[in-house]
Symmetry: C2
Subunit: 148 residues, 2 copies
């Protein structure tokens, strides 16, 4: 019913002559459990609790691999642009957008049909072809706004 990252990864790996290792399994698991756009370091720490032998470069290599195979998106946010954050793909081919709270850094995902309209307007005006879009809102989430 729902797109399953672990299964998708497993078939991709085998389809390309790759191997499903303990490390990859644990990294995938952590990615799903974190859910909230973790950094490589965060995933590393999480997996390390169970498997202290894991190396950070393995985390990076696995995330890159997942990214290249369309199973994970890498994102950076303007208020913390040095840190790459990783976002498992939930439904293939579907864009979604982000709101980031400037205070608590929590990320909210949302969707809107209007971006398609903007794409069309853009192409009508400038020509060319729009393949994908990144939209990020920055502000205060409901909770942080109430604390003000």
């Amino acid at each position: 019913m729902e797109f399953n990252l672990v299964n998708a990864a497993e078939s991709q790996i085998h389809a390309t002559g790759g191997r499903m290792t303990t490390q990859r399994r644990m990294i995938l698991q952590a990615l799903i459990e974190c859910a909230d756009h973790p950094t490589a370091e965060e995933i590393y720490q999480k997996v390390r609790e169970k498997n202290p032998a894991l190396n950070l470069s393995t985390v990076y290599r696995t995330l890159r691999w997942l990214e290249e195979h369309g199973l994970v998106n890498a994102r950076r946010f303007d208020d913390d642009p040095r840190l790459e954050r990783f976002d498992p793909v939930v439904e293939q081919g579907e864009d979604h957008f982000h709101f980031r709270c400037k205070k608590c850094n929590q990320i909210t995902e949302f969707d809107t049909p209007l971006i398609e309209v903007v794409k069309t307007q853009f192409v009508d005006c400038f020509g060319g072809k729009v393949e994908n879009a990144t939209l990020v809102f920055y502000g205060l989430c409901a909770e942080c706004l109430n604390l003000t």
Copy 2:
């Protein structure tokens, strides 16, 4: 008539007890001439043609300073996220959005009132407050599309 980066910078600098130096003048000039979202390195090279003594860290410091004073925006694009690009502010307080061609890397700026609508929809749905927005389209510009 048009917002003038050099003048704005000059008054900001003096207003905060700063000094207008040769380097700052040249960096501002290069920023205006480049126009197309240069990197620190690109500005550095451009200024160096006239003033080979300039140091890259001066470029970074100046750009940071301009950014902190709202005269320049720093941006990163998903297809080249390690590189910060700098975008002089043309009209204060106005958001604008970007299209980046995946082939020639050219950046096109555009604007749309629909983002305000999306912001409103977001707040209606999730609460909180949206302060600013980044929207980037990636695809092929008219020219590169025709070459296909």
